[in-house]
Each structure stands twice: as structure tokens, then as C-alpha cells.
């Protein structure tokens, strides 16, 4: 069964599979969050979007969370989900003061960003928001790679080779990675999910600098960049 089987527009197998895999990822324990906590986070992000008028509620939103998040964490999620231009160091510090470690914060940023991505896509092709899946049992790994160091972001990241060592060589596949990809590297599984979505939705990473290549049927590369750049301009994203 295709994830977007009812779409009036032709969603390719790669994209369909990547999104199905990410929804399954949400339902698993992460490095820091239990599956129940992760469901609560993505549910909060989606509700913030619905309340802001950026998303339309669907009849079947899927499983509802049983975990209640602290108000301060809900505020951080809401800011990231619907007011991205205003997310700043003070918002990060509020998350820390609410008890999140740097790695747990990075996992939260990852899954909020991912669910916004998937919900924007569903809205774009005119299908209802995909229902959340039942959380699976399992404990977070609670590990931080020893190679992660504080570079220039709010949280530690794994540097490129050679500073990131063998771990970076394996994680980054032997290639230089810009900050936008390394940003989530303190939680390697979220980094891998970030890369998988990037490759399905934008470009395979080896093709990013090949400017006459387009990964999307019906769109030239300049047409892709027009859409990408306009979204980032509206989001006031300097990066």
C-alpha cells in the first residue's frame, strides 16, 4: 500500500517510501526520547500548526499522546513549528532550563522539523495529514558520540574529517558536509533521517552542486531553487 495512495498527483516510490519510513521512525524510541514522548512532541507541533491556521486538521490524526509535556517545552515546540524566524538562542536556553540536554534538544528540533516538513508536503499535494502511528516499546539509547564538540552552533556537532575522526568518516561517507547537514549529528539517527529526507525531497547529495541536474519531474533546477529560496525567505532563514 502506497503511503500517498489517494493523491491526485503522482508521488514517486522514493518519496513515498521516505515519508512512510519517517512516520515509522517517529513511533520508535530515539536516542533521548521514548516513543511516547516523541509522539507527544510531534503531536504538539502539528497542533500548533493547526491552531495557527498553517495546517488543516484531518479526520484521522492517528494515535493521540498519553504523555503531557511541560509548558516550557510546549512553548519551544510551538515557536519552532509556527514561528521559525523568531527561534533564537534564548529559545534554546529556555529548553535547557526546562531540563533538556543538548542532545535531547537536538532530537526535539529534528522531529519537529521533520513533522512540519511532512505536513507541509501533504498540504501541498492536497491530501489529509498522515495519521500518527502507535508508539512502539523500547528504551532510548541515551548515548552521545564522543566526537561531538561545541563548534559554532548552540549544541555540539561532529566536525568534518579529519577532526571528527573515524566516526565522522563513516557518518559522512567520506565527504565534506555543510553545517545544515551536520547540525543534527549529535543524534546520529536523526542526522541519517535528515539526509534521507533531503535526498528524496531535494537532491541526492552528490548532485547538489550539479546545477543542470533536477531530481523532480516537471521542474528544472532553477525552478526548484525558486521554490526553495522563496520558502526560506518567508522563514527569514539566513542560512
Amino acid at each position: 500500500m502506497r503511503f500517498y495512495a489517494e493523491s491526485d498527483y503522482p508521488v514517486g516510490a522514493e518519496l513515498d517510501g521516505a515519508h512512510a519510513a519517517q512516520f515509522a521512525n517517529f513511533a520508535r524510541a530515539g536516542a533521548w526520547g521514548t516513543a511516547d514522548q516523541r509522539l507527544a512532541v510531534i503531536h504538539e507541533a502539528r497542533q500548533a500548526g493547526i491552531e495557527a491556521g498553517l495546517l488543516e486538521a484531518s479526520g484521522d490524526g492517528g494515535v493521540r499522546p498519553t504523555v503531557e509535556l511541560p509548558g516550557a517545552i510546549r512553548d519551544v515546540i510551538g515557536t519552532l513549528a509556527v514561528n521559525c524566524p523568531d527561534f533564537d538562542q534564548a529559545t534554546y536556553q529556555a529548553a535547557c532550563e526546562a531540563g533538556l540536554s543538548d542532545a535531547a534538544f537536538a532530537e526535539l528540533v529534528a522531529i519537529v522539523s521533520f513533522v512540519v516538513n511532512l505536513d507541509v508536503f501533504a498540504r501541498g499535494i492536497g491530501v489529509p495529514l498522515r495519521p500518527f502511528m502507535e508508539p512502539r516499546t523500547g528504551a532510548p539509547t541515551r548515548t552521545v558520540p564522543a566526537e561531538a564538540i561545541l563548534e559554532k552552533a548552540f549544541v555540539p556537532t561532529i566536525p568534518n574529517v579529519p577532526d571528527g575522526g573515524d566516526f565522522a568518516a563513516e557518518l559522512y561517507g567520506g565527504h565534506f558536509k555543510p553545517y545544515i547537514m551536520r547540525a543534527l549529528s549529535i543524534v546520529p539517527d536523526e542526522y541519517r533521517a535528515h539526509v534521507a529526507l533531503e535526498q528524496a525531497q531535494y537532491n541526492p547529495l552528490p548532485k547538489v552542486m550539479v546545477f543542470d541536474y533536477s531530481h523532480h519531474e516537471g521542474l528544472s533546477r532553477p525552478q526548484v531553487e525558486i521554490g526553495a529560496g522563496r520558502v526560506s525567505a518567508i522563514n527569514d532563514c539566513f542560512y
Binding site: 514517486g12 521542474l219 520558502v231 522563514n235 532563514c237
Partner: protein, 109 residues
């Protein structure tokens, strides 16, 4: 391609069907559902139904990346920063709140 159309969408982007793509990009992350429905229909008419999927995938992806960038507080990479002085000034990017994540690392002078 005229990059100024990214921040001033009333300008000609220099890209075929650019105005349709700019309108769709704004509508998909906006609050006006009727405008999105209109923009989607216009995009399908101009570039075909597959373009709706591609444009939605790109908009979703950059909605993700903008949140990862601002949420984690990353600076732009040195090689990009050094090659984009004129473009950043032209588009007013230095005034974005998230620019501080790059500028806070610069050495005065």
C-alpha cells in the same frame, strides 16, 4: 535567474513559470487554504501534475532545513559566507534575526 524575486515576488524571476512557483511556495506555508488550492491548480496547469509533487517536496524540505538551521543555531559555512556579500546585501538577508548565528562568530574589525 533574478534572485531578488525571492524576497520581492512581484519582480520577474527570469525562470519559466517563476511567478506560479513563487505563488505556490508562499501559499503552501501560508494560512489561506483557498489561495493554496488556486496556486496548486495554476502550477499543475502550467507545468503538469508532477510539478505539484516536486514543488511540495521542495517546500517541505526547506521548511525542515530552515527549522534545523534556526533551531540548532548554525552559522553559514565560511566558503558560502565569503562568496555572498553582495547577494546578502541585495536581498536584505543580513537583517534576518537568524543572521546573528553567523555574525556572532565574526571577529570585530
Amino acid at each position: 535567474m533574478n534572485p531578488e524575486a525571492l524576497v520581492r515576488p512581484e519582480l520577474d524571476s527570469g525562470v519559466p513559470a517563476g511567478e506560479v512557483l513563487l505563488a505556490f511556495a508562499a501559499a503552501i506555508i501560508g494560512t489561506d487554504r483557498a489561495a493554496l488550492d488556486d496556486a496548486r491548480a495554476a502550477l499543475a496547469e502550467a507545468l503538469g501534475p508532477a510539478a505539484v509533487v516536486g514543488a511540495s517536496a521542495v517546500a517541505g524540505n526547506f521548511s525542515k532545513n530552515d527549522r534545523v538551521a534556526n533551531g540548532i543555531g548554525i552559522p553559514i559555512d565560511d566558503m558560502v559566507f565569503k562568496g555572498t556579500e553582495d547577494l546578502r546585501a541585495q536581498l536584505g538577508l543580513n537583517d534576518y534575526k537568524s543572521a546573528v548565528n553567523t555574525f556572532r562568530h565574526l571577529t570585530p574589525g
